[in-house]
Amino acid sequence: MIQKIIDIGHNTLNTIATFGRAFLMLVGALCAAPKIKNVRLTIQQIYVVGVQSLLIIIVSGLFIGMVMALQGYTILVNYGAEGSLGPMVALSLLRELGPVVTALLFAGRAGSALTAEIGLMKATEQLSSLEMMAVDPLRRVVAPRFWAGLIAMPMLALIFSAVGILGGHLVGVDWLGVDAGSYWSIMQATVEWDKDVVNGIIKSIVFAFVVTWIAIFKGYDAIPTSEGISQATTQTVVYSSLTVLGLDFVLTALMFGIN
């Protein structure tokens, strides 16, 4: 009985300590004065997490847009409202699917890679060697990756939404025969730049922050064995997916729920 209570206390303290370490890592990485050299490193990392994720983002955006147009059309056509296909596709992509699906794909494609990379650096004691050479690994390794994720993911989300709307156009207009003018005109009449597009961008910046933070911290905090790294990689994907979905509800309620 007492042991049970001890376990609960132990777990609570551990969790709090983990949050503390995660926060300290973030502060250490971000509160350092930026150097010209680190900009180079950040660009290098944008290439790794951003450019190399482009293909999966574009392909999934295209197909999600196409599927939404197909599904939306079969329902809307019953009410003779297939002209509303444009705003349906555009609003769901800009407000929800763009930021959320991009964040989930990003966690799987780039987040897991970040965790594995930093975890292996730790396991092979590269991080310790950097410290021995008086190079701060937080500034040299962690900070560029963090900034790269924070910059690249909102860009990917924008590309995702744009490609998805074009995919919806491909299916809805070119295949199913919705009028091209009403697809675009009702979309333009419905979608507001500052309410829908900008809120979507804000969402994806928040998701980028969370996903990249989790990915890097899990790698940085991994148990330096091959088993520990595999565990950390799995945790990255699971935790960031759950956090993104939970946060999405909160953000949606804040942005669109209460008037």
Partner: protein, 155 residues
């Protein structure tokens, strides 16, 4: 060499993002002129245009023959003027043609319906820049209900 290639790819990535943003900004929040085929312009004055938007369709018997180019308020008599861009393929409407703002479906979008009039012996054919005289405004539900209630009261 690898750095140059990386920077090139990141540059392309940025350009792609800007293109996506422009697409969202221009096509989703504003309008761009899409059609490049030959068109001519007709004007129509309405009392009330309801929910008509620029780029709404112009139809004759359900066939789309043009688009609403823009909508503005006549500064002299404060009536809305709708500028219709109609494909040059259909350039033989007589001046007895009437134009109405209709709704597709029960709750669908609004469009401009052209009703070609009877062509007498020597009809005047509407040409670029002409006004269509015979117009019917959009149905406004509140007005309809008001009329209905008024006619019930007077009975």
């Amino acid at each position: 060499m690898t750095t140059r290639k990386t920077e090139l790819m990141v540059g392309l990535f940025v350009i792609l993002t800007i293109a996506a943003t422009l697409l969202l900004a221009i096509n989703v929040a504003n309008k761009g002129l899409a059609s490049d085929d030959q068109t001519y312009t007709l004007y129509a004055k309405f009392d009330n245009i309801g929910g008509l938007q620029p780029r709404s369709a112009v139809r004759v018997g359900g066939v789309t023959i043009g688009r609403v180019d823009r909508i503005y308020l006549d500064p002299e008599d404060f009536t809305p003027v709708v500028v219709l861009q109609i494909s040059s393929q259909y350039n033989t409407f007589p001046d007895t043609t009437s134009v109405a703002i209709l709704t597709s479906g029960l709750l669908g979008e609004q469009y401009v319906g052209l009703q070609p009039g009877f062509a007498f012996d020597d009809p005047y054919i509407l040409a670029n820049g002409d006004y269509i005289e015979d117009t019917k405004s959009a149905l406004v539900l509140e007005d309809l209900i008001g009329q209905f209630l008024f006619s019930r009261d007077s009975e």
